[in-house]
Structure formats: C-alpha cells, structure tokens
C-alpha cells in the first residue's frame, strides 16, 4: 500500500478535538453564568440563583430559551449571508483551540498522546490568522442585516480589530525575539525550563492584554455592540440561536484569548514551583491541564472585573489609544527588546 493510514492517530486526534470543542463550549456556557454572577457580586447583588442549586442550571435555561425563541430573518436581509455571519463567528471562535497546548504528553494504551491537537510550528501565526478572521463573522452579519445600526456596529468592529491587531502583533514580535520560535508548545517548554515570559515582557504583556480586550469586543472596547447607542450593534436583527451563536462566540473568544495569554506569558500548563519531572507524568499532565485552566479562569475573571468597572470608550478615544499610544509603545518595546536580545547574544558588549 502506498498510503498507510495511522488509524490510532486519527482516532486519538478526533477524540481530542471532540473533547476540546465540547470543553470550550461548556466553559463558554458557564462563563455566561459566571459573568452574571460576577456582575452581581461586584454590584452588591445576588445574581441568578433560581435555576438549580445556586443557579447552576441557569446557562441551560438560557440556552433552551434561545433555542425555543422564534427565529426571525428580516425579509430585507440577504439570507445566505445572514446565516453565514453567526456561523462564521462561531467557527473561527472554536478553531483557535486547535494549536493550544492544553497539557503535556500522557501515556495511554502504550501510546504517547500529546494533549495538543496540532503542534503547528507557526502556531501563533495560525492563532492570529483565525482571530482576525473572526471579524468577518461580525462584518458579514451586520452587512446582511441591512440595518443602519448593525452596519455601524460592523464598521466599528472592523476598524477596531484592524487597529488593535497592529499593536498586538508588534508586542508579539518582541515576545518572539525572546523565545526565538513560533510554536506554542516550544514556548511552554522554554517557560517550564526557565522563567515565565511575563518577566521578560511586562510591557509587551500589558499591550497584548489591552489588545486582547479590544479583539474580544469586551468593555471598555465594546463599541461594536454598544447597547445604548447602537441597540446591540451588529446583532440587532438577530434572534433565537443565531443571536446565541454571536453571544456564545464572544465568550469562547474570551476563553481562548485567556488561554493564549496564559500560554504566551504565564507558562501555559506549567505548574509554578513544581518540577514536573519528579512525579508520575500522566498525573502531572492532568494537573498541568488544571493549572492552565486555573490561569485561564483568572484571566476570564479579569475580563469580567474590567467590564463591570470601566465605562466604554468614545470612538475617537479608542482610535487615539490604538494608533497614537499603543502602536508607538509596542514599537518602542520591540526595539528595546531587540537591542537587549542583541546585547545578550553579544555577551553584554557593545
């Protein structure tokens, strides 16, 4: 046979894909619940507590409600694009999880299974490509709605994401100077051996964090939605599960960017102050996944904490911040890092 198919590998990856997709959907579901709870406790309220004990069935109830709502497709919209919009938003949101190293290798049935769907050697570029595709979902949906508020939202989303992708990329270039490669797995291994990247790149992390907020359309950068000025922005015309997809993809994006930030700057699945080599690798891999999740949860909490503290920026403030503050700052950070890396290569001689 010319083509030998490695069936166990395919099954292994398929199972991993299903787990990752299901997990990110489940986490996104409970992130909506967490958002409402966090909002409540930050505002001295109690939050949802009726559905099930402590309200833990609330996301299920919300999901069911969205499913049973009437599905309205406005007759002045272009139907194909109208459906394509939320689908694309959801698709790109889920796709990002493919290159994230969720954990170390585990040995099962005499096979070494890497807890990463695909160790792409340009992993971080893949993430960038997919994330910037995410804006198409919003743009197409808002365009297809044939509604001026939706269109405004879509316009804002597009310009915002393009503006903030630049400083994000620039801050990442500085990080790549330090790590020397693009594979997320390699970055984690480096951080496991040495120090976390946040130590080398504090400014880069700050810029990346701000841009991540903007890319996820979270407050203070939630201008594309802007409930009170654009009546929900790009999803004004959407109802039922299509609206659910938009809202859901926002939460998945939030989860994925939390994971990416943990991976890039906070050691990924590395457990701090523990030498993984001393213990059973299978258990360590499991704890590693938990460590990554814990870091991601911290970031998700930060996302929510900021959302319920800071009011939305004005549009010109947004553009000012992106182009006149973050980009020069990221450039400066990049040049500084480059100079330091060069000096270090040169053994600190000019």
């Amino acid at each position: 046979m010319l083509l030998v198919i490695d069936w166990p590998l395919i099954i292994e990856k398929l199972v991993l894909i299903i787990i990752v997709v299901m997990a990110s959907l489940g986490i996104a579901m409970y992130t909506t619940f967490a958002e409402r709870k966090v909002a409540a406790v930050l505002q001295d309220r109690r939050g949802p507590n009726r559905a099930g004990p402590f309200g833990i069935l609330q996301p299920v109830a919300d999901g069911l409600k969205l499913f049973f709502k009437e599905e309205i497709i406005p007759n002045f919209s272009s139907k194909f694009l109208f459906i394509l919009g939320p689908s694309l938003a959801m698709l790109t949101a889920i796709m990002t999880g493919a290159v994230v190293p969720w954990g170390d290798k585990i040995t099962l049935f005499d096979r070494e299974i890497s807890l990463q769907i695909a160790d792409v050697n340009v992993g971080i570029l893949y993430v960038f490509a997919v994330v910037s595709m995410g804006v198409y979902g919003i743009m197409i949906g808002s365009w297809a709605s044939n509604n001026k508020y939706s269109l405004m939202g879509g316009l804002r989303a597009a310009s915002q994401i393009i503006s903030y992708e630049l400083p994000m990329g620039l801050s990442l270039i500085a990080l790549l100077f330090v790590t020397g490669n693009l594979s997320l797995k390699e970055m984690v291994l480096q951080q496991q051996a040495g120090l976390w990247n946040i130590v080398y790149q504090p400014l880069g992390f700050l810029i990346f964090l701000i841009c991540a907020f903007a890319e996820c359309n979270r407050t203070p950068f939630d201008l594309p939605e802007a409930e009170n000025e654009l009546i929900g922005g790009y999803h004004t015309e959407y109802s039922s599960m299509k609206l659910g997809f938009y809202l859901f993809s926002e939460y998945i994006n939030m989860f994925v960017s939390s994971v990416i930030m943990s991976t890039l700057f906070f050691g990924g699945y590395d457990i701090p102050f523990v030498n993984e080599a001393n213990y059973d690798p299978n258990w360590m891999a499991l704890f590693g996944v938990l460590a990554l999740m814990a870091k991601a949860v911290c970031f998700i909490f930060l996302f929510m904490w900021v959302r319920w503290t800071i009011p939305r920026f004005r549009y010109d403030q947004l553009m000012n911040l992106g182009w006149r503050v973050l980009i020069p700052l990221a450039l400066f950070n990049m040049l500084l890092t480059g100079a330091l890396v060069l000096l270090k290569e040169n053994n600190w001689h000019f």
Partner: protein
C-alpha cells in the same frame, strides 16, 4: 463652595491605568460587602405592627362575625372599593353573627383599594382590619374583587391555628363596645 478643579492632567492621570486600577479596587471591595437583597419567597422582611396589607373581616372569640353592615367603612373609603348588603339575623343564627344585623354581601375591590386603612379606623365594631398579607396575584381582574369567603378570618374555635396565623402580631386597638 467648592472650586471646580481645572488643572491639566498630570502624567499618572493621563496614562489612565492608575485610575483604572483604583476603580477596580473599589469594585473588588464590593465583592465582600453584605448584600442588601433578601431572597424573597424563602425569606420575608419583618413587618411593622401597623403594616397595612389585605383586609380581614374579624370574628369574636366564639367565632361570630363582628360586622353589622353599618356601612361606615364604605363611607370612609376614599377609593370607593367597598360594597355591602345588609341582612337581618334570623333566630338560630346567633352563633354566626354577633348582632341583629349582619352583612349578607361584603366585597372589596382590591384593585381600587389604596390600603389607607381608613375603613379600619371608621369601624366601630372592630370588624375590619388590615392584615400583613400583601402582593396578591391572579389571572383575572374579577378575581381581585374579594367577597366574604376570602375576607373572613378563619374560625377561632374550629380552626384555631389558622386564626392565630391570620391574626398575626397586630396590635389590637381597644374597642369601644
């Protein structure tokens, strides 16, 4: 008088991050504050003894209705929510009605009622008072016209527990009779 501060923002204020951090600390501190919300159906707030809720038609200790259908409550009612029809007590009904005249029909429209308590003040027989029950809910408007069945307090001899519950911790004014 306080002067408006029109200084130029200094560097720390202009980078905005410090103020964001301050604001986030304020919201964070609210996480540990006591929540003023009361989980309503499970817990209820204690009422003042003079709380004015839904009306109750009173009975005396032997379970006889106090109301004599004098109509003073209906006259006192500013919302004109009370309707009644009087009837004469027949022999053999002494255990039902305390005096010779009683209300055959007694209706209060709870949608009109403003819960002012003037009916209670007007009543010379301590026959009507406002209880601690509130927030009635129903599917139809006509269900809010309460008749005697819904208004009368449970019988103190036949059903003493329900009677006590309906009485609540209301402070009874001494009656003149």
């Amino acid at each position: 008088m306080k002067q408006v501060d029109r200084r130029e923002m200094n560097f720390l204020e202009r980078i905005y991050l410090v103020s964001i951090f301050k604001g986030m600390m304020i919201t964070f501190s609210h996480m540990f504050k006591k929540k003023p919300t009361i989980n309503y159906p499970e817990k209820t707030r204690p009422f003042s003894p003079v709380f004015r809720g839904l009306h109750i038609l009173n009975r005396d200790e032997q379970g006889r209705e106090n109301c004599t259908a004098c109509g003073l409550c209906a006259v006192a009612c500013p919302a004109e929510a009370i309707t009644m029809e009087a009837a004469e007590r027949k022999t053999g009904e002494e255990n039902l009605y305390r005096e010779e005249k009683y209300a055959a029909k007694y209706e209060i429209n709870m949608l009109r009622c403003i819960f002012c308590g003037l009916c209670e003040e007007a009543c010379p027989k301590d026959a009507i008072y406002l209880s601690e029950t509130f927030a009635p809910a129903d599917y139809q408007r006509k269900q809010f016209i309460y008749n005697k069945n819904e208004l009368l307090i449970p019988h103190p001899v036949n059903d003493p527990e329900a009677y006590k519950k309906a009485l609540g911790n209301r402070v009874k004014r001494p009656t003149a009779n």
